[in-house]
Symmetry: C2
């Protein structure tokens, strides 16, 4: 099934001028964008304003907003096109939402764990060991790390490589957007792990178990090993 | 740890006028918003423009964009405040990003499964059966559903109740935002389940297993039962 071919849901009966809240207008533009698809051109401003029964000024204001977010691009003399956002653009939009809704880093870490668990399960089910090469390289870097900094870098690389290897763009999209809001918390947690040698070898072992479970095609074991790699460090001293 | 008390990461050295891309400016505003926290007032436009070394026009343009998204609110004679977005506002921002990046509904369904699995694991670990009352009610509605429509409604209620019961606002935030983009796909899948009575009783059984695993405090079993409730229906006939 192609999502692009899907017609937009039936629009509610348009209402005149003032009764359109900006949100309704954005929502309709959003549906239009989804129907039109990345790389394609929106209907003309005039046609859109007529269809939605709003002023062209109101419409232009919303299009400008979407342009500012990198979702639409106006090409003079040609029209307005739907942009394929790069991951930094996507991350920015999500970051804005996260910044403005008071989600805590701890709550967001659950989402990151959820995404990685899904990646691990999909990878274990795929049975394609070639995809695991970067994950194994990061694991080896963790095992041979000398400084706390090397360990921290290899740890992050391991998690990123795992998510990336799953090859699911939606998992990567959300994980990318969470990276910046989570950076501080994860830096703090990794520092706490690195302060105690016991923590560090326990964490490296958890990563090794996770790698082996995924490589062996064992989703259930991968899932519990993943949880262990997210466990808060014992002893914050 | 309170995220609001966390100072913003050190700003890169500001550069003059033209070299600021809108994205950099938005990113800095985003960090400012996170530091200031919901309900509080941004520094004055003049102070912000000075700190970031950009024109007040460029700054005002970006503030307008964030106002359009419902992230900031200007109060005449008082200042610009950070808004606590309601869930529909959050969903809209995420929907925009999703609409403009060509993620397929199938990829997004993985994310929804990942979030629900996390919710199920957190619920199983919490050991608070009182929270499961709405989940059980939805399960009972599935078990006694007569029409395909009743079954579909109860099925959705079950999944929503499960996510909500976990009480993690970040999981709910992402799940809410995915609801609209996924509606069509899930309607199609549920219809396919409902076409064959065998599918339907198999799916109801999977939901019952999931409920029991969560109620019994068994995260591993909850995780695999959750996967079964997301499995594509057998036989599309």
């Amino acid at each position: 099934m192609s999502d692009k071919a899907t017609p937009a849901p039936a629009a509610p009966a348009p209402v005149t001028g003032e009764r359109w809240s900006p949100d309704h207008l954005i929502r309709h533009l959003c549906e239009t964008i989804r129907t039109v698809g990345v790389g394609n051109r929106l209907p003309s401003e005039r046609a859109l304003a007529e269809r939605l029964d709003v002023s062209r000024t109101a419409l232009r204001d919303r299009i400008q907003l979407l342009e500012g977010l990198g979702i639409l691009r106006r090409v003079p003399g040609s029209g307005t096109y739907v942009q394929a956002l790069d991951s930094s653009g996507l991350a920015l939009v999500l970051e804005l939402a996260v910044a403005a809704c008071g989600l805590t880093a701890t709550d967001l870490l659950s989402v990151r764990a959820a995404l990685e668990r899904q990646a691990a399960i999909e990878l274990a089910a795929a049975g394609d060991p070639g995809r695991l090469t970067p994950v194994r390289a990061a694991l080896e870097a963790m095992e041979t790390a000398v400084t706390a900094e090397e360990n921290d870098t290899a740890d992050r690389e391991f998690h990123d490589a795992l998510l990336c290897a799953a090859g699911n763009p939606a998992l990567s999209f959300f994980a990318d957007a969470l990276r910046r809001p989570l950076r501080e918390l994860t830096t703090e947690r990794n520092a706490a792990v690195n302060r105690l040698p016991d923590n560090r070898s326990r964490m490296t072992a958890a990563h090794r178990t996770l790698y082996r479970a995924v490589a062996a095609g064992n989703p259930a074991e991968a899932s519990s090993a993943l949880d262990e790699t997210f466990r808060a460090p014992h002893g914050n001293g």
